[in-house]
């Protein structure tokens, strides 16, 4: 018998109903729209800049800035370039962000744990703190600390002083500055050696525990090594560290480390504000560990302190870390509010003064946005790596 070769499949859809063709068409339209929009913007911008006599390009970065900045971590004066002002601003942003992240984390963890305290008074106090602080705009809090609190401090001549070495007045907080003398490098060497020793000790203790089941008090011994080794080195080399004390010279203080009030206000406000969010994250993280886990640990006879360290905290961290990193990112972005009180951060120095002087809005804004974009991408990259490492390994 002869096989029939009639194609019984239905004919394909009309091309304009074919999802594949449609999808290609829509994407083509989208690309065309984006390019058209982008081209219009660039064209408009170039025309506008030409008619206003604004130069283009990044050549301005090598020109002399000619303005002073009240605080810089790298050497800076008015004769340096706009490129240098960018660096100064960036360093100041990173400084206040790092300071804020450290204090906000510590404070946030304390308040978050206090929120779960069995003591009614402490728990309610933590609740009130969280509900008050996070419902008030950050900018207002910065203003409050800067204008209302730090602004009402006494003048340099009437400074609040502690032990003749710490001074607080409306120009800032003055601290003694450590001046490493010759031979201090050895102390640094001791610190590094102590860290290496502790890492080694930890590996050894873990190996021993796996083999014998005996627990070695790694934490206590580790702290002892970290304290004793550098101290011995410090004393053995003949205390090669001197302190430069701040002193009143004329109308202001000289010497020592100065924390300008702008930095202090920003730091305090950022820490307090972010801590209220971190506290809630910590609370929900700890609550997310199911009760069965602690009960199982108890049933196995694991002591309370170890249960917390080995069972509860690792599981809570898995919930805490992702929102925590996004809070860090928020803090870094919020540090740009510095410009409102005149702390010379990236936005204030570069997007403020440099932009005003050069008028090259496009380049300056692009560089500033690129910096924040880089920080944000770096943090989300870190978070993805962490998530992959910390995700529950199911078998």
């Amino acid at each position: 018998m002869k096989k029939q070769t009639v194609d019984s499949r239905p004919t394909g859809p009309k091309p304009w109903y074919d999802p594949r063709i449609r999808s290609i068409f829509f994407q083509f339209v989208a690309i065309a729209l984006v390019f058209w929009g982008g081209w219009t913007l660039v064209d408009n911008t170039l025309t506008n800049m030409e008619s206003r006599g604004i130069s283009t390009g990044f050549g301005f970065l090598d020109e002399t800035a000619g303005f002073g900045i009240i605080m810089s971590l790298v050497p800076y004066d008015a004769t340096m370039t706009y490129g240098r002002t960018f660096l100064v601003g960036l360093m100041n942003t990173l400084l206040v962000s790092a300071m804020g992240i450290v204090t906000a984390t510590i404070l946030g963890f304390i308040i978050g744990v206090a929120r779960l305290s069995s003591n009614w008074l402490v728990a309610k106090l933590a609740l009130v703190y969280i509900e008050v602080i996070r419902n008030i705009p950050l900018l207002l809090q910065i203003f409050f600390w800067y204008f209302a609190v730090l602004g009402s401090l006494p003048s340099p001549r009437q400074s609040v002083e502690v032990a003749d070495s710490f001074f607080l007045n409306n120009r800032g907080l003055y601290l003694p500055e450590p001046m490493p003398q010759e031979g201090f490098g050895l102390v640094w060497g001791a610190v590094i050696a102590a860290i290496v020793a502790v890492v080694g000790l930890r590996a050894w203790a873990k190996k021993r525990q796996l083999a014998t089941g005996q627990i070695f008090p790694t934490f206590k011994v580790g702290v002892a090594i970290l304290v004793i080794l550098p101290t011995v080195a410090y004393l053995a080399t003949g205390t090669p560290l001197e302190w430069e004390l701040p002193a009143l010279k004329g109308f202001n203080f000289g010497g020592g480390i100065t924390i300008i009030p702008e930095l202090a206000a920003l730091w305090i406000a950022l820490s307090l504000y972010t801590a209220s969010f971190i506290a809630e994250i910590v609370r929900s993280g700890i609550l997310s560990v199911s009760k069965g886990q602690t009960e199982a640990a108890k049933a196995l006879g694991i002591p309370n302190s170890l249960t917390l360290r080995l069972v509860v905290i690792p599981q809570a961290m898995r919930v805490i870390i992702p929102p925590l990193t996004s809070q860090y990112l928020n803090l870094t972005k919020n540090s740009s509010l510095a410009t409102a009180i005149g702390y010379p951060d990236l936005v204030a120095v570069f997007m403020g003064t440099t932009l005003n002087q050069t008028g090259q809005a496009v380049e300056v804004v692009a560089i500033t946005m690129a910096v924040y974009l880089t920080i944000s991408l770096a943090i989300s990259l870190f978070m993805n790596i962490y998530n992959r490492a910390a995700a529950i390994k199911e078998r």
Partner: protein, 361 residues
């Protein structure tokens, strides 16, 4: 026969037992309670007496503030400026009407049994902006024009937050759908748009809107400062909105998509009739939370020279006629924001509990 259901035994806790259990269980807790309580009494006492007992409430002149406490006269004397900015006195009824309509649309949302409260809310989202568009700036129907540079205070804060959230909602929906699209190029465009806006601080966005937007536009086309700020806020906010809505879209079980496909619904019908209604309902609390953060962030517009409520206070506390009223001013603004934000966040928590249908996977 089934066992008769017994009610759980009543546990009566006397106040003394409660105090012992919650405050003084063990020496550690007792010590903690005493120390914290002492600090509280020492710290909060002076604050309260400054705020209320020693404060001046009556009078009209700066010289009436004689007490050692807060000088609330500063607030009551300048209240008009803090609420309306430079809006002309005889036209302020227009703003009052808007305040009234705003309250009418949203206060019923807090009352469970209010008849037809959905319709009030719908009016708030659709009719209210239209009424506001004609009423606040004037210019039509024989209403006198009030330039946007004269708007200020609480009124401006509410306008910025409200328009910002309302305008960013549709853009956010489109971006969220785009990010979940199967077309790689459309998805790519949406991802880049969302991530770039989310990565930069609002302040750079506002700077950009006020400095760069005029450069982007063709000659002869320009916006007022307020409009520029609104465009910046809307674009920035729409990226956050997109992420919130994407969360809702991801929470819809796959079966819903497949069931819609099985019924032969096309993309737009599937999205508009099946997916979005469920997803949007799910993310209402998230939207409310973004609204709260936007509401707080609107204070940043004072940096580009708009007078929102914080801006008006900030510009008056340096008035030489009043001495040292900075703290009073800040406390007033903080209180305004706190009432709004705390109220709304309570509402959103309530909503979250009610909307939790329990069939989320």
């Amino acid at each position: 026969m089934a066992e008769p259901m017994l009610k759980p035994p009543k546990i009566a806790i006397s106040p003394i037992t409660w105090v012992r259990q919650n405050l003084f269980s063990g020496w550690y807790n007792t010590l903690l309670t005493l120390v914290v309580g002492y600090l509280l009494v020492v710290g909060v006492g002076p604050v309260f007496s400054w705020l209320f007992f020693d404060a001046t409430f009556l009078g009209s002149e700066p010289s009436d503030c004689t007490g050692t406490g807060a000088c609330w006269l500063f607030i009551s004397e300048r209240l008009n400026f803090f609420i309306y900015g430079f809006y002309p006195d005889d036209l302020q009824w227009r703003v009052d009407v808007m305040f009234g309509l705003l309250a009418l649309s949203f206060v019923p949302q807090f009352i469970e049994r209010f008849p037809g409260r959905k319709w009030f809310g719908l009016f708030g989202l659709t009719g209210l902006p239209v009424v506001g568009y004609f009423l606040v700036p004037g210019g039509n129907f024989g209403l006198e024009v009030v330039e946007s540079s004269k708007w200020g205070g609480l009124m401006l804060t509410l306008i910025l937050a409200y328009i910002g959230i309302l305008a960013s909602l549709p853009i956010g929906i489109v971006l969220a759908l785009g990010r979940r699209s199967e077309m790689p190029i459309i998805r790519g465009i949406c991802v880049v748009f969302i991530e770039v806006w989310r990565a930069v601080p609002l302040i750079t966005v506002l700077f950009m809107a006020s400095v760069m937007l005029p450069l982007f536009l063709p000659d002869g086309m320009n916006f007022e400062k307020l409009m520029r700020a609104l465009i910046g806020i809307t674009l920035w906010q729409s990226a956050y909105m997109a992420e919130v809505i994407r969360g809702g879209l991801q929470a819809i079980p796959r079966g819903q998509y497949e069931a819609a496909d099985a019924l032969g619904l096309g993309y737009w019908k599937k999205t508009g009739l099946i997916i979005l209604p469920q997803a949007l309902k799910m993310v209402i609390p998230g939207i409310v939370n973004t609204f709260i953060s936007l509401f707080k962030d609107t204070t940043l517009v004072l940096i580009i020279g708009l007078f929102d409520i914080l801006g008006t206070v900030q510009s008056t506390i340096t008035d030489p006629a009043w001495q040292n009223v900075a703290i009073e001013g800040y406390v007033f603004v903080a209180f305004c924001f706190w009432v709004f934000c705390f109220g709304i966040s309570r509402y959103s928590q309530n909503l979250e509990r009610k909307l939790d249908t329990g069939h989320r996977t």
